[in-house]
């Protein structure tokens, strides 16, 4: 067993992930999700906002993390639109605005066609500078984002009336794949604006780093695809009720079956590996 070719393990993992996807594609069934407190806190923070509130949403990811974060972005945008809140989208990652445009096209332009760009939502694009951008928008938002993505000055956008700094938004959401992302938003924006509510949707790799900020500096958190699935289920239950949810709003839950079987395989391998290690150790101890 110690000489087992690792490629057999890769093949087993591929099957453990691929077969549930095919099963889900054929049956359309997903596992039920029960929200954990960090995901529930995200949902509650958005529910608590009055209609018409403006929400700063930062798309801090690129296609490499889309598998985990795009379902979160979709659910956040759907929830904001349903509550008639107004997302002001920015990005600290160069490909963030493109991901934001995809989400806007998929959610707002398709299912909420009455919402007007510049009045009900806006994409202000990417600004380079990482935490430097966050430091500046803490005092002067328009200095970093003077125009929207199409070049229209923010002074002419009704959605930006009265917004001078990040603290003017009652809620900030970052969908973050790494640096700069959730940690930097906590360090440079949340800490210097005590009244501001910050939510973060983060990748699995980032989750354990950001968890220590919850629930003090971070009001709510979606940790990896599991958090995305929980939040997606909450939003679907609130919006769709007993109706069938559109497939594009079940993406995170569809990815939970591969998670289950992938994790089961991994746990089995860890247990098997340890059992064999101790068995071999005992054999060596017994052998003359």
């Amino acid at each position: 067993m110690s000489g087992l070719d690792r490629r057999w393990i890769y093949l087993a993992m591929m099957l453990a992930v691929a077969l549930p996807i095919l099963w889900n594609g054929v049956t359309g069934k997903t596992f039920p999700e029960s929200p954990t407190p960090p995901s529930q806190a995200c949902f509650d923070a958005i529910e608590a906002l009055p209609e018409g509130s403006r929400v700063l949403v930062s798309f801090d990811y690129d296609p490499a993390s889309e598998g985990e974060l795009a379902p979160m972005a979709t659910s956040f945008m759907r929830h904001l639109m349903h509550k008639r809140l107004k997302p002001v989208v920015i990005a600290l990652w160069p490909l963030g605005p493109t991901k934001a445009e995809e989400t806007i096209a998929s959610v707002i332009k398709t299912d909420f066609p009455d919402r007007v760009n510049g009045k009900d939502f806006v994409n202000l694009g990417f600004q380079t500078g990482n935490e430097g951008v966050l430091k500046v928008i803490g005092t002067d938002f328009r200095k970093q984002f003077p125009v929207d993505r199409s070049g229209t000055p923010v002074d002419r956008l009704p959605i930006m009336d009265g917004i001078t700094k990040a603290g003017d938004f009652p809620l900030v959401i970052t969908i973050s794949a790494g640096y700069p992302g959730g940690k930097e938003w906590v360090q440079y924006v949340s800490s210097s604006n005590p009244g501001l509510v910050l939510l973060a949707g983060v990748t699995g790799v980032q989750a354990s780093q950001v968890y220590s900020y919850y629930p003090g500096q971070l009001r709510g958190m979606l940790a990896a695809i599991k958090g995305a699935a929980e939040y997606e289920a909450l939003v679907s239950a609130a919006i769709d009720g007993d109706r069938v949810t559109a497939p594009k709003y079940t993406e995170a839950r569809r990815r939970m079956a591969p998670q289950l079987f992938g994790h089961l395989l991994l746990i089995a391998l860890i247990v098997l590996g340890n059992a064999m290690y101790f068995a071999q150790k005992r054999c060596k101890a017994v052998a003359p």
Binding site: D5, I21, V186, S208
Partner: protein, 346 residues
Amino acid sequence: MSDAITDQTAPAQGRWWIGLFLVIAVLVAIRAGMGEGMGRVYVQTETTRYASTTNEQGRVAWSAAADGTAGAVTIERDLFRTAGQFRAAESAAPGQQAIRVSWDRTIGLWLAAFFTLAVFSFLAGDNPAYKLTESIVIGVSAGYWMVVAFWETLVPKLLANLAPDMVKAWCMPNLEGGAFNPIALIPLGLGIMLLSQLTPLGRHVGRWPLAFVIGTFAGLKMVSHVESDIIEQVRATMLPLVAFEDDGSFAAWASIRNVLIIVGVLCTLAYFVFSVEHKGAVGRAARVGVWFLMITFGSAFGFTVMGRIALLAARFEFLFIDWLWLIDPKGERAMAVVAAATQLVP
């Protein structure tokens, strides 16, 4: 799966893997020829005419214009359509050209599938397909970053301050302000000094802007770290050991959680106190601290596994849904479902 499969049998395994890939290639070829086929991207061209107006402040605005408007320009853009929408259109009007196959995007889809499989092939061993894919990813990323840095930083933040009139006439018609800003000469000078790192004689000159960058970030990070990672985190551990609900009743789980947090923090800190020998009470606390650290590492590993499986699942979904058309969870290839969706797509 047996112990017999070892590195000594590598040539046999190589042949086995090549055989497996050939089988997959044959299956893909069969799939391509079956039923409605696979891996095609459909588009519909939208044509819009735009006319520009300039207000008193010199701002240029573009808006949709009617046919025949003087000076208007025509913009064509392809909107994605699904296979179901294509089939519905064909069913209504056979031979229609409104929704059609986009060959360039279809080639892009097949290239994406090829690159995905090439990356997967690394699991079987390093090979030219993987190396090619890796090089393309690095090259495209570097090129993209260069373009972004030029248009998002150099043009609006440097050139627009040094030569505003030129930039306004060239690429930013809505540029506001318009006065030469001498402060921008400082980053320009520092940037040129930084480039001197590339020449053997000018390396010492390049250290000045580096010192500026390091000093600025050190100051910026020090303040934020002290505030958010020390003061706020210390505050977050100042918890009541006996917690109560809002109605005054005893909160058992909250109390246990608080005790665990406080014990965990103190014991973990005890492990990192190296000026005291880890014996007696300190030693026991440090050993408990190691357990907390192990649980933390285990949790981080679990989250990492979750993230990686999610990414793998997303690639498989791309292969099965977009490329092979094996499954259709979004109902994009079903005519009945698409009929209503067609109305909503802009």
